[in-house]
Symmetry: C2
Amino acid sequence: MTTHITSESPLLTDLYEFTMMQAYFDAGMNDTASFEFFVRKLPAGRNFLIAAGLEQVLAYLETLRFSADDIGLLKQTGHFSTPFLRSLEGFRFSGDVQAMPEGMVFFPDEPILRVTAPIREAQLVESRVMNLLHYETIVASKAARVALMAQGRSLVDFGLRRAHGAEAGMLSARASYLAGFTGTATLLAGLRYGIPVYGTMAHSYVQAHLDEAQAFESFARSQPGNSTLLIDTYDTEAGAHKVAALAARLRESGIRVNAVRLDSGDLGEHARRVRAILDGAGFREIGIFASGNLDEYRVRDLVESGAPIDGFGVGTRMNTSADAPYLDCAYKLTEYAGLPRRKRSEGKATWPGRKQSYRRYGADGTMSGDTLTLEGDACDGVPLMQPCMTAGRRTAPPVPLGTSRALAMQQIAALPAALRSLEPASAYPVAVSAALIDLARAADALSGSAGAGSHTGLRG
Amino acid sequence: MTTHITSESPLLTDLYEFTMMQAYFDAGMNDTASFEFFVRKLPAGRNFLIAAGLEQVLAYLETLRFSADDIGLLKQTGHFSTPFLRSLEGFRFSGDVQAMPEGMVFFPDEPILRVTAPIREAQLVESRVMNLLHYETIVASKAARVALMAQGRSLVDFGLRRAHGAEAGMLSARASYLAGFTGTATLLAGLRYGIPVYGTMAHSYVQAHLDEAQAFESFARSQPGNSTLLIDTYDTEAGAHKVAALAARLRESGIRVNAVRLDSGDLGEHARRVRAILDGAGFREIGIFASGNLDEYRVRDLVESGAPIDGFGVGTRMNTSADAPYLDCAYKLTEYAGLPRRKRSEGKATWPGRKQSYRRYGADGTMSGDTLTLEGDACDGVPLMQPCMTAGRRTAPPVPLGTSRALAMQQIAALPAALRSLEPASAYPVAVSAALIDLARAADALSGSAGAGSHTGLRG
């Protein structure tokens, strides 16, 4: 494949990343900085988040380069000096990255990624690192809820058409599979990420034939091992009768109909009636697949009502994370030139220093609490951030998506039961260590304006 | 620029587009089909929509090709016959496109784009055509509301980092500019689409310096004509005093500070205090720029309260259209082989035939009502859809973005006043012609199952 879904352009960033680089260049500042990406708080109604997007971030960092064209375009803007532009010619990301592996459950204030690099490099990559981690994380976190509610029924990502652009279509297929979906309808995502690809048929296919039964037969004969027939174009139950009659006829030629799809009306009620029609005709093996504005709440209600639905196509509301289309997340400087840093802006204060989260599990394997502390501080539990890039090179080959998916499944299963439901639960306990609180005080003293709002910004 | 933001891969589509193509191929069906893209209903709280994304759709259709690699990947899936795959080798989109120009205001049920082509081509392009039109339209429609509330103050797109992927970052910069924003912070979008690019500074820049005043001075000297200083890292008013002192010193070297940025707390109250501090020091020309979780409601409240804010950075909530992250939109077959088609699925019935919208204006230029009818049906008013592609080729060169922006400004200004406010207004009148109602009845009779739910699905 020679096409590029993602921009690899180093200019896909906010202008200010470059003007700050220029100012650091002018001042000769390029000491080591640590930036951490974290989420400030959970969206309303959410009990946990799933880390995702790391693989795309590492690929971006590894390949970041400036072509002569890129430098020419920067020059055109008039904001940059020739010596600075020349310094970009041999640019390579030379920093270290520590991160939670994809699929890890995490909570507010816990960093899921830390970049430690000369400050110009660490600053430049901010916009794209956030863009990737934010989107995949919010989709994985939404998809995990749908998967919990589906209780093992198949789930197919249907959302390319209303995802926000091409890359959202691709990455939401990936992130939803990581979080427990069965596959995607997006062909290119299936091919690129190794995800199972599924397809049914559109209403237009039925409409293009003057006779609905003819449309079903033509499709079933064309895709003999792969036909899911859409039966709601005109009248769902009438469609089911046509499928039953067709399946009986096709059986003689050795062709089977795999499933029917319902896409409108009361899906649970239609599913019951269609099940009865198919069973009555002796086709218990024909599955029922449902779609149409589904999300975790509708899937839960359908499953709990006992609707005989074998799988769901979940699109728009998952791919756009419709109830929470963004996270309150940040990529913040926590250390520069060996000294801790933090901001104290009202309502947006952050924790300084290079941090690590430790997770404890009970005897039955259930998560019992995390501690947010400084790297190197002794702490009970399993450290969640791991080194994944040193001096600009990966410390290990890319993690297969299936491995990340298995971690997500294990992590979700280990959540306290209340956090796995759709009801808002008491917050999972994340303790802040004394060492970290002490460091925040020290950072405030260093920044020289401890009088105004210094400790009031502390949270935890 | 050699990088690709958007995928030009023909495989960026739903698998079912290809399995339907294969079924049409097997049946020898490839008559002319018309598909129309429209929105079923307005999101809650919205009074109008702005058409956007056409330019990207035309570029996609013009360049759609299958490489040998693409065909090899399709073959690997096992779903397709060799003769069908061979038919893709010389594939070109050969159809016609009629569409509303970008920037046009539109309402539910009015098609903004029609593809008329051999059905296999018209079907294949469904997923990506929807993906592009849906996203740019929802962003332009959201951004137009922000622009109305800003009442001429400058508005900069700040949202790359939380847009849903790279393409969303790029296209939201474009769509928001089209709908009235002043510019974007996303450098690559500015360069690619010819949009003004703006930048300020990040908290990390301030934090990296142990002394805030030193950070301000270093940045202002590095960007002497282009410095917007972020003053809320520790204490906003203390920051304003430092800027005033710095500006006085820099004036002697001929360097001016353009503006300060506020990003937290009560933005209106901080703006008043900061204005007083700067004015008191004789710096009326230093502007105040505000950002931080802004949307049309917050911008309205700040403007109405008289807060002395000269411009706003609006990001996440605009780029994700956070209150309405998706549209209930569709790309539906309306005619095949010369006969009208429609679906009657419960709650999702569609209008058949090739349609056109006509818009009437009052004596003062205000829109007074639209009529949805069939192409060729005589009707008062201005037709909104225009031919833009014939036999796979554009009928005219690409429309400059500035021209589309001017149309959007003119259209928004022509909206009835109630529709320009944030309060829900009575729906704009879109009449459905008798000719269209008659055609819907005829289509129902043709599809041969008029007994079940036939006319009940009609809306209008």
